[in-house]
């Protein structure tokens, strides 16, 4: 089996291998190297949580630190993409999307359509999301539904080191603008990752666990929480199928529907807020296209409609946990008209 590395290392490896393979790949973001203009060491941080460490020295001139000017440098990455580069820009926390969203959703996302098919914008915007580090309301959100909503963007959320490397490789090679979401609580997760380069296709969900009783559709960090719940349920004789969406745009509808038709009972687990989320998106999909097969209404397990609280006790209540998923599964299995 392939050697085991962390999610963070897998991302770094994808960047390294793609930058070696293709000179047009450049990296930019706040502290992506770190130490710019400062008297101490260069590449002091390699990214706030170390994902881009080492690239600065290995690829001189291709890793650019930026001032705290998201709209300018995210826009610059987008402009450079239209000019033929393949930039990988970092929006440090997706919570900061507000200051640069125009460049992403009104410019990058729309160029191809607005310009009659004549623009190609191969930009990747990497960003951190998710709660669990007590980082509080403005550094812990899961805002991928907002981007999923925008035609012209692709939205990717790897849950494992293997997926992280393969999906980031694909994102860099992809000719459309990609929002690449990294859950901050997953960086230390280790798993088997091939040493060689490989690209995973977008729009392919991964059935991480097979089971015939209930379908759990989930993404990102919640994949692991869902697997935990599935283990507990297996001890009670309930076999859950756990589907990791991997990409919300494009979305692998077929895999979700196939499973929903087989089990008739669906639970969606999504760490984002409950309104206009992936949970509601999948629920609508299933209700519309697998209605006949459903044995129970779709259950959604999400965060509450509140900002992310700071205090540990509250944050732990905020994030969906395995018990809540178990309860939701029992609701759908126990449901009668």
């Amino acid at each position: 089996m392939a050697r085991s590395i962390t999610y963070r290392e897998a991302l770094n490896e994808a960047l390294t291998q793609e930058m070696e393979r293709d000179e047009s790949v450049i990296v930019m973001g706040e502290d992506n190297a770190g130490g710019a203009g400062a008297p101490g060491e260069d590449d002091a941080w390699g990214g706030v949580l170390g994902v881009t460490k080492g690239l600065y020295h290995r690829f001189p001139g291709r890793v650019l630190d930026t001032p705290i000017s998201e709209s300018a440098f995210i826009g610059a990455a987008i402009g450079a993409a239209t000019a033929g580069m393949r930039p990988v820009a970092e929006l440090m926390f997706v919570d900061f999307m507000g200051v640069c969203f125009d460049q992403i959703y009104n410019q990058a996302a729309k160029f191809r359509y607005m310009f009659g098919g004549k623009a190609v914008t191969p930009v990747v915007i990497r960003t951190m999301y998710g709660a669990g580090l007590r980082a509080a309301a403005q550094h812990s959100q899961c805002l991928y539904p907002l981007f999923t909503h925008i035609p012209g963007l692709k939205v990717v959320l790897p849950a494992t080191p293997y997926d992280a490397k393969g999906l980031l490789t694909q994102a860099i090679r992809d000719n459309d603008p990609v929002m690449f979401f990294e859950h901050k609580a997953l960086y230390d997760l280790a798993g088997p990752v091939p040493e060689e380069s490989y690209a995973l296709p977008f729009g392919e969900a991964n059935v991480v666990r097979e089971g015939g009783d209930v379908t759990i559709v989930t993404l990102g960090r919640m994949v692991h929480t869902s697997l935990e719940a599935a283990e507990r349920l297996a001890a009670d004789g309930v076999q859950c199928e756990v589907i990791d969406l991997r990409t919300t745009s494009p979305l692998d509808e077929d895999t979700v529907l196939e499973s929903a038709e087989a089990t008739g009972r669906v639970v969606v687990v999504d760490e984002a807020h409950p309104r206009c989320s992936m949970a509601t998106d999948i629920s609508a999909l299933v209700a519309q296209k697998a209605f006949g097969a459903l044995q129970a209404p779709v259950e959604m397990v999400t965060a509450p409609h509140t900002p992310v609280p700071f205090s540990g006790r509250l944050e732990d209540l905020y994030i969906p946990d395995a018990q809540r998923i178990v309860n939701a599964v029992k609701t759908v299995t126990g449901w009668t008209r």
Partner: protein, 328 residues
């Protein structure tokens, strides 16, 4: 306003080309103004008439290495950068034969093959993109530059200010052209720009700032060619402020009750085409007959563009769903 004491020597061909380009823009905009009033043109148009010297005086220094980004008032920049006039007109009419196959419209006309990153419906949308193209030129060592055109309104947008700082931090071959036509929609720039001049901000960012009479092609050309040459050699960005006025409203349909009668005066005394013609005929570089010939050609060209646009097919139903992605 600066007086034009000397001007760079331009060849006869360059002078004719400059005149043709400015005349094309003027005729294009005047014609769109007339046609829009018939109700046939969908959506919004924002006309550039009066400002021609800025677009042409800058873009005459550019070549295929260079990119420009524009604003909602983009027709002039498009024509100056070489976008096909017929395709532009068809786009304004929403036809399938338009530059964007009818899917962009006046505010989103673009031709990336000509380095025209598009008119932009978002005020301040262009400057960050130009930082990107300038960065690309710098990394690739092409000697190319990026020019971001924006208005006095756009000069206050955070994106513009951030881009200016970023361009200075990264020492990019970027030219920021603030086209101060006196109004951001209905609000005077004298009110919304707290400093005396937009160009005064340049020093705050660490780059040169130049104020130019935007009605004077030769003054524009002088300032722009210097800034562009410096940028090509790695000398970094410049902020150029054009001072002039727009002949029409913010958008077609704007009653312009916020204005006095400065347009009348400008057309009579300051107009860039009149001044250019007077200058070149006085020095004998071009003859009146040369200019008249250009006027006639341009009139024919615009006429043809309008007739073809009106006759062109609209996009089909299938076009609604195409070109969202390269591959989904």
């Amino acid at each position: 306003m600066t007086d034009t004491i000397e001007r760079r020597a331009l060849t006869r061909e360059q002078l004719l080309s400059a005149y043709r380009m400015m005349r094309s823009i003027r005729e294009f905009e005047e014609r769109v103004h007339r046609e829009f009033a018939t109700g046939e043109i969908p959506g919004f148009v924002h006309l550039y008439a009066g400002e021609e010297a800025s677009a042409v005086g800058v873009c005459i220094n550019l070549d295929e290495r260079d990119a420009i980004a524009s604003t909602h008032r983009g027709h002039g920049h498009c024509i100056a950068k070489g976008v096909d006039v017929g395709e532009m007109m068809a786009e304004i009419y929403g036809r399938r034969t338009g530059s964007c196959h009818g899917k962009g419209g006046s505010m989103h006309i673009a031709d990336l093959s000509k380095g025209m990153l598009g008119a932009n419906g978002i005020v301040g949308g262009g400057p960050p993109l130009i930082c990107g193209t300038a960065l690309t030129a710098k990394i690739r060592g092409t000697g190319g530059v990026g020019v971001a055109f924006f208005g006095d309104g756009g000069s206050n947008q955070g994106t513009t200010l951030e881009s200016m700082n970023l361009a200075c931090v990264w020492n990019l071959p970027a030219i920021f052209v603030a086209e101060n036509n006196g109004y951001a929609e209905s609000t005077a720039s004298a009110w919304s720009v707290a400093a005396d001049n937009i160009a005064d901000r340049a020093a705050g960012f660490g780059m040169p700032g130049v104020i130019v009479d935007g009605f004077d092609f030769f003054a524009v050309h002088e300032a722009a060619s210097e800034a562009i040459a410096r940028a090509r050699e790695g000398g970094g960005p410049t902020l150029i402020e054009m001072k002039f006025t727009r002949y029409y409203g913010h958008f077609e349909g704007d009653q312009q009750t916020y204005r006095a009668n400065e347009v009348e005066q400008a057309r009579a005394e300051l107009d860039c085409l009149k001044r250019f013609a007077a200058r070149v005929t006085e020095t004998g570089e071009l003859a009146r007959a040369d200019l008249d010939a250009v006027d006639a050609e341009v009139a024919t060209m615009i006429d043809k563009a309008v007739n073809e646009a009106k006759a062109a097919p609209l996009p089909g139903e299938a076009d609604l769903l195409t070109d969202v992605y390269v591959r989904y």
